[in-house]
Subunit: 230 residues, 2 copies
Amino acid sequence: MTRILYALCGSDRSRPFSPHVWKTVLSLKHKGLDFDTAPVAFTEIPVIENEATTMVPLLRDGAHLVKDSFDIALYLEHAYPDRPSLFGGKGGEAMARFVESWSQTTLHTTLMRIIILDIHDRLDPVDQTYFRTSREARLGTTLEAFVEANGQAELDSLAEKLGPLRTTLKRQPFLGGETPLFADYIVFGALQWARITSPKALLQDGDPVKDWFERCLDLHGGAGRSVTAA
Amino acid sequence: MTRILYALCGSDRSRPFSPHVWKTVLSLKHKGLDFDTAPVAFTEIPVIENEATTMVPLLRDGAHLVKDSFDIALYLEHAYPDRPSLFGGKGGEAMARFVESWSQTTLHTTLMRIIILDIHDRLDPVDQTYFRTSREARLGTTLEAFVEANGQAELDSLAEKLGPLRTTLKRQPFLGGETPLFADYIVFGALQWARITSPKALLQDGDPVKDWFERCLDLHGGAGRSVTAA
């Protein structure tokens, strides 16, 4: 059986950095499923698997082709029900959507404003052109001006924005409780994206969020540490 | 069997307003459990049930006395396992803690800054004195100055702060999925607290959060509507 995870990379093909792909890496590890990683650059995504997607992750699992990290987690949960659960029941599945919404709304927006130029700098020239053109059209300004105007303020606001996560982690070691669930991988993916692309220090020593992130890096044989920090 | 829920009230004893008590009201209804409501004012809380608590909700369930809305939900889940689940499994139980942390960190802080004077105005004189003294010591200013300085800005920020909830509710009718769970009651409690104490309009027509809040008010025979809006 062929299992391939298509993973976004920059000029260094051994450093996948997409937050959503990292959610799927840990989902596959959580289920104990072997897979090959196929690195793809931004401008290569539209042609893989017969133009199957415009975004990664994309998982080829034998005859099945599944995209979107949450849909992949749902697919894995149903296709491999005898492996450890990614959701811990229907309530956990529903509430993981809230964790995803919080992560997208609060965390991704903030992190992107901090690391967008660092991401750009790690891409091949053709992808730099694509990335700059598409992102600057959205932002209405240059990447440099955007980071100059927003980066430090967003970095200063990050600790407070992590408040709901911090409060939870003072009570229990993972969002999933005593052991991690897909909800943990959702938030881990965002911080791993920043860890791999940017040298900026985001989390302070002594912060329960940092301790949890380190625990997540250790999971499944240290899968998250297979790519070093920027 | 005697089942009594102690519920915080102001001068009108038929209008319990504590957000945490409302979480428990809907938890009991969710489990299909009958109960009597015992109204208590702020300054009466320390003497009920032989000085059992300094905060409500407090639930007397026969020989059992349980405080804290989350602990009460856990107690009900274990004491009445054959009734509908409040968590939908262990994952839902763990992630409801994240919903609680988000609601406390993000929503309660904001709502308190909007409605604190409205709450004060609904109390008996002796409780007004307690409330004003204790809150002004925390805030370092008068209730009036605090609301004047913060109220409108917090009201203006509320729609954005509800972003993670809104995104989730565009996908599914409840935080619990197709049907409500304790996670819904956590957030409902906060908005119900504001609905009962303050005439300020917090949610706009057409907002999926408002539609969800109305659905929550309809639950369990319209239990949330048993107290009218301020």
